[in-house]
């Protein structure tokens, strides 16, 4: 592998690393803390651009054979995730972006990058860790409420459990197939040896834990609520997307044992129902997003049921749409004290205080609910079509009905914004220019995607 290859293939990651270092240096050199928004933004954009460019040029390369390789799919996925990070930065800036936050975000993205081009379980494990370790800190960094620390702690402990489970699965894989490469895992996927099955299911369970699928979801609502809005957005969209995309890559074009299929049907279905039901009575916006994200994790995992060729497209599209709409909703939340923005009451009568924001949030909600003509519908359509094409008609129908349960909670938000009078004590200013720009950016993207 030539040095050029080393440089090019992992260019996005390198850029991210560079960004981290730059910010670090600036932070060290300057006596007073200064806002690293610009460098961070540039870095992310550069990384995204690089990924996109490589994807465009159909670059394929394996600088570290057997460990790290990139292809169009991987690059596309990276580009998507990096782009999705841009609004996060805007949101973070809206509430005083700290240089460390920026660095940790970038580091986490770096982990995502590794995760998405892992060829061996080592790289997979490492990427996953690099993705989630900064998050533990990020959750607590929005330290405005004691709960933040609690959230971080819960996330950390359960995340640690997840790590251990993943490792157990990996070691099973090693034991049953004698190797740690992705191919070995795929062998394990289709073998019916107990060890292999154990390996597969443990790995999948670990991923489900990271993506917050019932019953491994318990950390998510608390962590999301404890975190600051940008971090919530990041966890709800980029992390989830990275994990699921990595799993798709891991499965590759291999089929799966019927038992595994059953697991991949049952747990996501369960989390759809669970998430949608539990979200109905939430009073905090972030918690609502958390539960809805649990439900959406269910939809995303459904994509794994489909035929290998369809999976990646479906998941990517869903991640884009879902991410954008989430960002849109969070970006339009009225400014104000953190706990205040979080309460749904804060949204009451929003249409009369800030019609633009209200309409945007409404659009986001409808898209999340999967109501046409908003892109969420197309994404849902795509996912369930893949499932049906796999011949699992009944499953798809059940999934659709489960998704029906979700409509109410999104309608509830709209109802608060448009149909309820504003409560007296709530005082919130309309969303700031930054958030608004983020919102408009995402809106543009949303419509773009929606109409193709």
């Amino acid at each position: 592998m030539t040095a050029e290859g080393l440089f090019v293939a992992a260019l996005p990651e390198h850029l991210l690393l560079l960004g981290i270092l730059v910010i670090l240096v600036i932070d060290l050199l300057s006596d007073r803390p200064r806002e690293p928004f610009l460098p961070a933004l540039v870095t992310v954009l550069a990384a995204a651009g690089a990924a996109f460019w490589l994807h465009r040029s159909g670059y394929i390369g394996a600088p570290f054979p057997g460990q790290f390789s990139v292809g169009p799919d991987a690059l596309a996925a990276k580009a998507v995730l990096f782009v999705l990070t841009v609004p996060v930065l805007f949101l973070a800036r809206a509430e005083r972006l700290d240089s460390r936050v920026a660095m940790l975000l970038l580091a986490s993205l770096y982990g995502a990058g590794l995760l998405l081009s892992a060829d061996s379980l080592l790289m997979l494990f490492f990427g996953l860790e690099l993705l989630s370790l900064p998050l533990y800190a990020l959750v607590v960094l929005a330290f405005r409420r004691p709960e933040s620390a609690e959230a971080a702690m819960k996330y950390l402990v359960l995340g640690g459990v997840g790590t251990a489970v993943l490792l157990m699965g990996i070691s099973f894989t090693l034991g049953s197939t004698g190797g740690l490469s992705v191919e070995d895992f795929r062998v394990a996927l289709v073998s019916d040896d107990l060890l292999a099955r154990g390996a597969v299911v443990l790995v999948v369970a670990a991923f489900m834990l990271k993506a917050a699928v019932v019953p491994f979801h318990a950390w998510a609502p608390d962590a999301y609520e404890g975190a600051s809005i940008p971090v919530t957005a990041y966890m709800a969209t980029i992390v989830k997307g990275a994990v699921i995309l990595a799993l798709v890559r891991l499965f590759g074009d291999a089929g799966a044992e019927p038992e595994l299929i059953a697991v991949l049907v049952a747990l996501p279905l369960l989390s759809m129902v669970w998430g949608n039901l539990a979200a109905m009575r939430q009073q905090g916006f972030r918690r609502l997003i958390a539960y809805s994200s649990i439900a959406h994790a269910g939809y995303l995992f459904f994509a794994l049921l489909g035929a290998p060729e369809g999976r990646f497209e479906a998941v990517t599209f869903y991640v884009i749409v879902y991410g954008l709409t989430n960002m849109l909703a969070l970006a339009c939340l009225p400014q104000g004290e953190d706990w205040l923005r979080d309460r749904l009451e804060g949204l009451k009568g929003l249409y009369h205080r800030d019609p633009r924001a209200a309409i945007l949030i409404a659009i986001a909600m409808l898209s999340l609910a999967g109501i046409p003509p908003f892109p969420g519908f197309v994404a849902k359509f795509l996912i369930f079509r893949t499932v049906m094409e796999a011949g699992l008609v009944a499953v798809a129908v059940m999934g659709l009905i489960a998704s029906y349960l979700g409509i109410y909670l999104y309608l509830r938000v709209i109802q608060y914004m448009f149909m309820s009078p504003a409560p007296a004590q709530v005082r919130t200013e309309p969303a700031t220019g930054l958030a608004a720009t983020a919102a408009l950016l995402t809106l543009a993207a949303v419509l773009l995607v929606g109409v193709f």
Binding site: M153, K154, V157, L158, V161, V165, L194, R197, G198, V200, V201, L202, V204, A205, L209, P215, F216, A218, W219, P221, D222, E259, L260, A262, V263, L267, W274, L277, A278, M280, R281, L405, Y408
Partner: protein, 626 residues
């Protein structure tokens, strides 16, 4: 001369539109000119059309106006058909109609919604003409429903009074029941014959192409429609209440014209009934029963208009009897005569009410003969006519009916004749009872009423005179012979002139007997009658209660339907079952959400344990322990 019939139909419509839209602004004089002038013009046109018909040798005039709907190969055309039958009907409608318009000028003078009244009246004429002139059953049905509407509006004319409004609604609904039957009959005809043009239908049935079963079904269904419109049992209940409307309306709609639409319909569809003897028999029986029972009720009514209403029902029964035995022309003949004397009677009653400033209870009248001579005189003539005293109109027509009831080859029988004669007797009795109680004997009026009793103004009296005149002479037109071309006549079971003459004599005797019975009972204030009432109190209550048909219907139909709608449909169905289950589901979801929230207890230990359980579950599943 094309377009004549259309013109004839449109004239009253124009009157309706003009009066309805502008009448309030333009004032009574204008309203009179339009509202009375146009019907008169219509009458003129009708006469003209009749002349053309005659000059054309009774060859039916057909006028197609436009195609209402053309679906597939079925064309529903709006076209008019004038043969002798419809000509007679049209003349009656426009003639009597015009007279009653004139009468109304006096009667409705000063009413706050004068224009509306004439508008409605013209509207009625329009629909009535549509009914009698329509060539296809569809047009006839349009008129049929339309006159129903007009009568609904006119019965409820003084809508401030809830009872009047209710009476209108009752009339409409009851008619609707009949109309349902009519519609079904129409559908059946359409499916069987493929057209709704009545002349073609008659031909088709006459051609014997149609199975008898269908013919019978059609016959019965159409007859149901007729019972609704013509107030025959079991749908007669609306007519007495319909007297709530202004008296001229009762005269025009509920005596002379509209209620006879049923008769016209069946006469018009005679082709069907020739094929459906069973249906015909049914008609005869129902008709006769109606005639008899209505007459018995009329015996004890105390409201002058109610008495007349029941007599109308009874007379209509006679007509249906005639139809039932196949003497269609005779039925129309009776219709013709009845139109005059019954109109005269009603208008007379109206004049009486007018004179007594709204009093309608015959127990508080009496001795009016001298006070309002014109009214009483004309009333007497009409009464004699309806009682069937020769040589007045009623005598001829009723006598013909009785004769055919006995002698017709199509289900004539001695029983029909016997009951018919008895009814004839009752007719004479109750009519003269009425005359005696109202015009003769001592005055039982309330003094304040008594002092300003006055003869009605000339527009009313003159009309009365004209009608009385016709009540005399109407019988002299030999209508049945005139209509032979248009309507089939039954063959006779036995053609013995002697018997016929004997029967005529008998009929006269009966009528006279009725008169004398009335005189005997009510001659002097009617103590004898009261004595009889005491003797047969129960029967009296039964009759006074009109056999309690209304009550029965209320118990059997109205209340159960309301009950079902309220309890079953609304409370049980909508609220309990449907919405209940929905709300149940919603509650279920809420409870589930609460449960899930409890699971999310916030305890780290618990979360870890859930994770562990999840692991165990998937492992157990994957390793096929289950």
């Amino acid at each position: 001369m094309n377009g004549l019939l259309t013109l004839l139909v449109l004239l009253p419509l124009a009157g309706f539109l003009v009066n309805g839209l502008l009448g309030r602004r333009l004032g009574p004089v204008f309203v009179n000119i339009v509202g009375v002038g146009l019907p008169l013009a219509a009458f003129g046109v009708a006469v003209w059309a009749w002349r053309i018909l005659e000059t054309g040798g009774a060859e039916p005039l057909i006028e197609t106006v436009f195609t209402w709907a053309l679906i597939g190969d079925h064309a529903f055309e709006v076209s008019f058909y004038l043969d002798r039958l419809s000509a007679v009907m049209a003349l009656i409608v426009t003639g009597v109609g015009a007279l009653i318009h004139i009468y109304s000028i006096g009667y409705m003078k000063g009413d706050e919604s004068y224009a509306r009244y004439f508008a409605y009246l013209n509207l009625f004429l329009f629909f009535m003409l549509l009914l009698v002139l329509g060539r296809s059953l569809l047009v006839l049905f349009v008129g049929w429903e339309g006159v129903g509407l007009a009568s609904y509006l006119l019965i409820g004319f003084w809508f401030q009074d809830v009872d009047k409004a209710r009476a209108g609604r009752k009339a409409f609904i009851t008619n609707r029941v009949g109309d349902a039957g009519f519609l079904l009959g129409m559908f059946l005809i359409f499916t069987a014959v493929g057209t709704l043009e009545m002349d073609q239908i008659n031909q088709a049935f006459a051609g014997g192409l149609i199975p008898a079963g269908i013919a019978t079904a059609v016959g019965i269904l159409l007859f149901i429609g007729a019972t609704g419109k013509s107030a025959q049992i079991p749908l007669h209940v609306w007519l007495p209440d319909a007297m709530a409307g202004p008296t001229p309306v009762s005269a025009l709609i509920h005596a002379a014209t509209m209620v006879t639409a049923g008769v016209y319909l069946i006469a018009r569809m005679s082709g069907v009934y020739l094929e459906a003897p069973a249906a015909s028999t049914l008609i005869a029986v129902i008709g006769l029963l109606t005639a008899f029972l209505a007459a018995t009720i009329a015996l004890v009514q105390t409201d002058i208009k109610k008495v007349l209403a029941y007599s109308t029902i009874s007379q209509l029964g006679f007509m249906f009897l005639a139809l039932g035995v196949g003497a269609y022309a005779v039925a129309v003949f009776h219709l013709f005569t009845h139109a005059f004397f019954k109109a005269a009677l009603f208008l007379g009653a109206g004049s009486v009410i007018h004179a007594l400033s709204g009093e309608q209870d015959i127990r508080r009248m009496g001795g009016l003969a001298r006070r309002i001579p014109w009214t009483s005189g004309t009333f007497l003539v009409a009464t004699a006519a309806i009682a069937g005293l020769p040589p007045l109109a009623g005598f001829f027509s009723k006598d013909e009916i009785l004769w055919f009831a006995l002698a017709s080859g199509q289900g004539g029988s001695v029983w029909l004749w016997l009951l018919g004669s008895l009814t004839a007797f009752l007719t004479a009795l109750y009519m003269f009872r009425l005359y005696w109680l109202v015009f003769l004997g001592r005055s039982r009026m309330a003094p304040e009423v008594a002092e300003h009793v006055h003869e009605s103004p000339w527009p009313m009296t003159s009309v009365l005179v004209v009608l009385a005149l016709f009540s005399v002479i109407a019988g002299w037109f030999a209508l049945p012979h005139y209509l032979e071309g248009a309507l089939p006549a039954p063959d006779l079971r036995f053609a013995w002139p002697i018997l016929h003459w004997a029967l005529i004599l008998f009929a006269v005797l009966i009528a006279v007997a009725g008169v004398f019975a009335a005189r005997h009972l009510y001659g002097n204030g009617g103590q004898r009658a009261e004595a009889i009432e005491q003797r047969f109190a129960r029967i009296h209550r039964l009759l006074a209660g009109k056999y309690f048909v209304d009550e029965v219907y209320d118990r059997l139909l109205q209340r159960p339907w309301r009950w079902v709608s309220d309890r079953i449909f609304l409370r049980l169905g909508d609220r309990l079952l449907l919405d209940g289950s929905l709300h149940g589901l919603a509650a279920l979801a809420r409870r589930g959400a609460a449960g899930l929230a409890r699971v999310q207890s916030g305890s780290l230990h618990w979360y870890a344990w859930m994770t562990l359980l999840g692991l165990v579950a998937v492992l157990i599943w994957m390793w096929r322990y289950v």
